[in-house]
Symmetry: D2
């Protein structure tokens, strides 16, 4: 796909809303002969905050790649007082996957990875169970098992975070990982840990949502991917989807049907994240077009 061949840059921006922002920022690009490939903006009218994502071709762009950061900062970001991030699509992000015993999300991630659907490097799988080690080995990815007990949990996290550093990990996927990360861990990777929860949040947070859904007699079940924050299942939602169910479906049926939802919803969230299409503000997620 030619999406991946692009040598382009992406800016994610937010700042207090005021007149002329779009004009000023796009003028910066056109003045330096930048060809805009994708642009989207949003104004949160409640908080009066402006959000923007712009992707442009670096071919023919008059500012050398190594100077863009500085130049944008001096000419635009500082005067306008922007919060901003700059990405180059040539840089391939590094991702770690945390799993427990359920394989479906990991399978889906590895399938996409293996077929080159995503521009990402998966160099590390961490688990508190050994069940998925053979699957990791099938795809020749480093697998690290941590036996987790209340006593060794803190110590294990230190080792995990060391591993993440060693592998140069940019972001983490919790692919049905059944452990809660410490506040410390989470805050080190703010908006860089994506979890999949097997319900349409805020309904049925916590453990055994399919059992709760069955008991409540709902006619739809869902899955939610979100950035992890220190409060369990309360982080900003990236993607959600649901399917219809009925009285015939046992808890086992909900679990089975839910698996397909979970893996697709998680993979869509990873896609958005990889495309640098997400911004978090006030515990809500802007997912640009």
């Amino acid at each position: 796909m030619n999406l991946f061949n692009n040598h382009s840059a992406i800016l994610l921006i937010y700042c207090p809303d005021r007149k002329g922002l779009v004009a000023t920022i796009t003028r910066f690009l056109s003045d330096h002969n930048g060809n805009i490939l994708e642009i989207d903006q949003h104004v949160d009218k409640e908080h009066r905050v402006f959000f923007m994502r712009v992707k442009w071709d670096l071919q023919g762009f008059k500012i050398p790649e190594s100077k863009i950061q500085e130049k944008f900062k001096e000419e635009i970001a500082k005067p306008l007082n922007l919060a901003w991030q700059l990405y180059f699509t040539k840089n391939i992000p590094r991702m770690a996957v945390f799993v427990s015993r359920y394989p479906h999300c990991l399978h889906d991630i590895l399938a996409r990875y293996n077929s080159g659907e995503w521009k990402v490097e998966i160099s590390l799988i961490i688990s508190n169970h050994k069940d998925l080690q053979p699957l990791a080995e099938r795809y020749e990815i480093d697998f690290h098992y941590f036996h987790v007990t209340p006593e060794n949990k803190a110590d294990g996290e230190i080792k995990q975070r060391h591993l993440l550093k060693k592998h140069g990990i940019d972001f983490i996927i919790l692919a049905r990982y059944m452990q809660i990360l410490s506040e410390d861990f989470v805050s080190e990777y703010t908006s860089r840990i994506i979890n999949i929860h097997h319900s349409f949040l805020p309904a049925f947070p916590g453990a055994k949502p399919y059992h709760s859904a069955y008991k409540r007699g709902v006619k739809v079940i869902g899955a939610t991917s979100h950035y992890v924050t220190s409060e369990l299942d309360q982080g900003p939602i990236i993607e959600q989807d649901v399917i219809h169910v009925n009285h015939r479906h046992s808890v086992d049926d909900l679990v089975r049907k839910g698996r397909d939802l979970e893996k697709i919803v998680l993979s869509r969230a990873i896609w958005h994240h990889l495309q640098r299409k997400t911004l978090v503000f006030e515990n809500r997620t802007i997912v640009f077009q």
Copy 2:
């Protein structure tokens, strides 16, 4: 539609599950030359309870209509210890609608009623506001306004229940009615009051669910129709549906989009109820095919 021309009978049954129930009940019908039009059954394996709905043609049926009740009771229901209900499709149920100020659900109900989509008689609209009186008059349906205050609420309910009796009302629709009915009222019409709630329950029960949904940053919003029980928004769910939303949608957008969901979900629930396709067990709803 020929559905409405049928001179047929419907049995709704439940009982402890055991072998031979389908055979025994269907044999009763075929032995008396009954032609089964629709049949569906379900076994709740957790509680070991058997549920069945069967509709058959009364043309050619050997038991006279006036004797079916007695005969089924003696031959089948008593020996098998069934809980059961018998309906004749020629009897048109009478429905009351409770509303407050939002017109969309009432509009949708009256449109279907006016075009003969439902086999029902709507003879009464009750409201705690006068806003929808002109709409009721447009369709020439009795409209009763009750100014509700904490002081006169109990008294108002007595009058409302008197009105329901006077009009021979079989079941009640709360079409965005913004008052909570007393436990007494609800228990008089068990599984005969249908409410529409503007969220996918159990998420966002109570007041202002669209505001809560916006604040939580969900990517889907929903609507839920359920039988009313004494606990607010906790009754057995009949129908649910959702639509996707994103960060661009303001609370006003959610309200606007939600209206279409609410009216369709409520009308689907009314349809199931009118078709005698619903049974409630352990706060869950069986909706037969």
Copy 3:
């Protein structure tokens, strides 16, 4: 809703894509103190065409309303060679509805009209049947019946177009109107006639799509709203939606379930049109956010 109180202007633009378009157009607005309320753009990369919609507050805008057209033309549209349309939200568009015998779409339109959901004036209903005259009268809207035969069809259209002129109609809704309009008629109202077709086009164009869907054994049925062109059911699609069906559903069931789809899909298309969010290019529709 405050959407309707806005005193604002909307520009719809398209032109060959080139660098700096967003900057130039947004600069025009910010230079004259225009506060952008909504902005969206799109580049058709295949045809290298740029599309844009921008809505801004007229309060505080330095160019008087009566001069915007001229000023934009001179400063921007002419130099950049734009195709463009300018709308003021204070102007309420006038809509005519063509119907035959099915009432559900008309009911839905009148319900929204009656409750003030849309900023539109419905001043005319035209039909080739008398069935819906009582409904039009219920809402006190002019109803004109045309008995259509192969012989008088051309003559009837002349009279209809005369009526449309007399009522100052801006756009037309075919709400399950079962007649084909002449090429002449259609070309007078290019991108201003919206039809609802009861299938997910391009499947099942023409007559009796539910019968065809049943026969083909599809597991989803759909509805499609589109701008009318001279080729039957081939016009640019504005909105589509589907629902799941199964082998149990008779043709009558498909018709019944389809009605809800049709009315919602048509009303969504009308909403987009009223918001000036649609542009047609190469028989495809851009529906701005």
Copy 4:
């Protein structure tokens, strides 16, 4: 899952509709102490044909497993003139997968196979390309490459059919296999070859449906799994689903989004087939509950 532990039998039946069928068939089971686990029936009112699926526990069933076939034939099937199939859940069906170059459906199938989600044996993958051989090897499944030319196609099919026999294959999945099977081949495996087509049929049959969908400007895209018949993309549909798209989506986006649909829709169809829940009649598919 305990579904797989069941030692049970499944009957699929169809015959001209008449009174007493349900009673007679269920009586046969209850008379021999059979505990019904699942039962569903359907009447095609147009053709007056009765369809039934019943699954019962073999524990405690009075007829020995080896005699059920004969006994049912003598006592029920012959007198009632039924078309019928009998399955025992202990028998694990054998499946072959045909692929070309797209890996996503094969990946999804192998993931489910590998994690024990399906009760099936995949012993053979056949392809007209070598691209997916490494994937087959990763999961240690026999992979057979056939270089297909117009000249050797007939010969190749003979070899393929020989392989299928040798492996005792019960049914075949075309997981984005880009070759058309001969009529002979297809008729040998009637209702036992499942294809996935990347559109909502009957729209966009044949080659390049995403390109056609883009060009037509549809707002939904879909995927369809169906039993293969001698007419291309005309076989009875088992499962369909769609997702919403808009003008922003390029053909590449449709292809990317479509992949997720295709794999899920195909896997759902395989699930129904494995559960013996499908019956084909008049080019339509009954999918039992």
